[in-house]
């Protein structure tokens, strides 16, 4: 009820000058122009759904990362860093980098050599039609929900920053995304995602730079945060020995295994939203390099997302609260920390660019969800279950209409999301429902020849149902938290991580057990799908500095150094 009342608040943090309005308008004009320009290059299904499979490693890598740079990355994680401190950085480092490198070096060859067009498509090749259908339907549901979250977040920012009506924001952004994805398909989405990635950095990088100037550098910032809150906000690992010693209420096992292994590997290696961008790469080496490039940039994103939240703890004269308390008291919520910092430092022009960066982030996430939904719906649900063997042009037409339908469903979802107090926790719950068990199924399918069709299907189903069941159990009986998250003091994020861990482990157990009880597939059928049955091209003739494994080692080394530095 209270968040719904916020829709009608017309107060604003900033007033855009004419030059700011021109910058925002130019952005909208440019993304639509790109869509119209690429319309003529989206005539076949290969073009529309897979961007012609001709993206370079850099374009695929930046798009891979940008599709994830949605509302959660910009506003949500800046809010999380204000609320939980530097612990939020785990979602960028251990919660992303190892999984991205694993995708590049271990899983990408099978996705690419199997010639699949989607993750559910791989499951069909490996485990048969039932697994594909289950995965496709759950992915489609999750994707439109995610898209709705993006829309709601964007509309919230527009309300807070500019005083725009929340309904107006939802419809303007969704129509813009619909136009350029309908026109140019995945290629248009990827082009705009790369553009949005650059604009996000151009618009957001100035906040941490000026913030550090104001606070007098990193050491002074740490001293001010310690003075205003506590020292616990500044350590990534040293406070995780107990649930009670850190602002997030999480144990290191939850971060290392729940987040770093299950959620991260599930999201970055099997969520088709991001994997689709890599599948559009022009060759296998570009497909392997793309996630590594993405991992390199991912490690830098905390500079423009986490650091502004920490700076907010030090320099903002007001104390931010949760959404419900903020609406009740007329104050500001955690989710407003990034816009507040933007208004603090950015004058005319820069303000327009900063607002454009926020809009770009939201739209890239939304477009990523919509284009992935379109591909899975058309290939894995419509073609597989409803209308097979139609002409290629028919599927392109279905894809365009599905894009419109996906946007409309997302708009409806956005209105549903308004009822939830915490955007981030809701999304994490979705991840643990669908993504964590999917990772168990896919990785067993790729690395274990003995896994059977029945094992894959029942493992995926058991993992998904158990995750939903655990979530419902805690909702009905909050004391169940001590069993699901191993502690009655665990917060929502910790609960999500442990739920993901259990559901993935259950998926493993059921898949292995059922596989041993059923007849394995002949090895000849597993060529191109499973490790040990697939000939993977060697790169021995390529210079060391051009090999994906070399750059993966470089990224991994930096990753270790960063974690130790902020221990």
């Amino acid at each position: 009820m209270m968040p719904a009342l916020a829709m009608f608040v017309t107060d604003r943090l900033v007033h855009l000058s004419p030059v700011d309005v021109v910058i925002v308008a130019f952005y909208f004009a440019l993304v639509i122009a790109i869509g119209f320009y690429l319309k003529g290059q989206a005539n076949t299904s290969e073009d529309f759904f897979m961007a012609g499979r001709e993206m370079t490693a850099w374009v695929a890598g930046l798009s891979f990362l940008s599709a994830n740079l949605g509302a959660l990355e910009l506003m949500g994680w800046a809010a999380a860093s204000y609320q939980y401190g530097i612990l939020a950085t785990h979602w960028y480092w251990i919660g992303a980098v190892p999984a991205m490198l694993f995708l590049a070096l271990v899983m990408m060859p099978f996705y690419y050599i199997s010639r699949t067009h989607s993750v559910p498509g791989y499951l069909k090749l490996r485990f048969g039609e039932p697994s594909r259908t289950l995965s496709a339907v759950s992915f489609a549901c999750m994707t439109v929900l995610m898209s709705g979250i993006n829309m709601y977040s964007m509309a919230l920012v527009m309300k807070v920053v500019l005083g725009w009506d929340i309904h107006f924001s939802i419809w303007v952004s969704s129509l813009t995304v619909a136009i350029y994805v309908v026109l140019g398909g995945l290629r248009s989405a990827i082009f705009n995602e790369v553009l949005q990635f650059i604009l996000i950095w151009a618009g957001a990088a100035l906040i941490p730079i000026l913030g550090l100037v104001e606070t007098g550098g990193w050491s002074n910032l740490k001293a001010q945060i310690t003075h205003n809150t506590s020292n616990e906000y500044l350590h990534m690992w040293s406070t995780l020995g107990s649930f009670n010693n850190n602002p997030m209420g999480v144990h290191w096992t939850g971060i290392a295994f729940g987040l770093g292994v299950v959620l991260a590997f599930g999201y970055w290696t099997t969520d088709f939203l991001v994997v689709q961008r890599v599948l559009a790469a022009k060759d296998l080496r570009a497909a392997k390099m793309a996630p590594i490039i993405g991992a390199g940039f991912k490690m830098m994103v905390p500079f423009i997302v986490i650091l502004p939240g920490l700076l907010g703890l030090a320099v903002l004269p007001v104390k931010l609260t949760g959404e419900t308390a903020a609406v009740a008291s007329g104050g500001h919520s955690y989710n407003e920390v990034l816009p507040l910092m933007l208004a603090r430092y950015c004058g005319p022009g820069l303000l327009g660019l900063g607002v454009t960066a926020l809009i770009a982030g939201f739209m890239s996430g939304m477009a990523g969800n919509v284009s992935a939904f379109t591909t899975v719906w058309t290939y894995d649900i419509y073609e597989a279950l409803i209308h097979q063997d139609a002409p290629d042009a028919h599927y392109v037409k279905v894809g365009r209409w599905t894009t419109v339908l996906g946007v409309l469903i997302s708009v409806g979802t956005a209105y549903l999301v308004m009822q939830f107090a915490s955007i981030m926790d809701y999304v994490q719950a979705l991840f643990s429902f669908f993504i964590a068990p999917l990772f168990g199924t896919v990785v067993l399918g790729m690395l274990w020849k003995r896994a059977t069709n029945a094992g894959g299907f029942w493992g995926l189903l058991a993992g998904t149902l158990s995750s939903v069941g655990m979530w419902a159990w805690v909702k009905v009986d909050p004391t169940a938290l001590r069993y699901v998250a191993l502690s009655p003091n665990a917060r929502d994020m910790a609960e999500n991580m442990y739920r993901a861990l259990w559901s993935c482990l259950l998926c493993f157990v059921v898949t292995i057990a059922v596989s041993y009880m059923t007849k394995p597939r002949p090895e000849s059928e597993l060529n191109g799908l499973v490790y040990g049955a697939t000939a993977i091209p060697h790169e021995s003739e390529v210079p060391l500095y051009q090999r994906p494994v070399f750059w993966a080692v470089v990224v991994a080394t930096v990753f270790v150094i960063l974690n130790i530095s902020f221990w």
Partner: protein, 86 residues
């Protein structure tokens, strides 16, 4: 990207160029006529030097990836052509 197509990097250069011009212009105007209500660290005129930086990068990318020139290929290796397996 094929050489007859406009490179994505050109669009990015165009965006940075236009934004750079607008932001630098606004910053210079603000420097000449300081507003009554000022942002924190106004004295550093961030919009002038940040806008100028975007402008320079934008000019470079527009020139480097102009439509009549070949788009640079940042990837490695030979392209594998194939049709999707349904």
């Amino acid at each position: 990207m094929h050489s007859h197509r406009i490179s994505i990097w050109f669009f990015i250069g165009l965006s940075l160029l236009v934004n750079g011009i607008l932001i630098t212009g606004a910053g210079i105007w603000e420097w000449i006529s300081p507003p009554v209500t000022r942002v924190v660290l106004f004295q550093y005129h961030a919009n002038v030097w940040w806008g100028a930086l975007l402008l320079v990068i934008g000019v470079f990318y527009c020139a480097r990836f102009a439509p009549e020139r070949h788009a640079k290929d940042f990837s490695f290796g030979e392209r594998i052509l194939w049709r999707p397996r349904k």
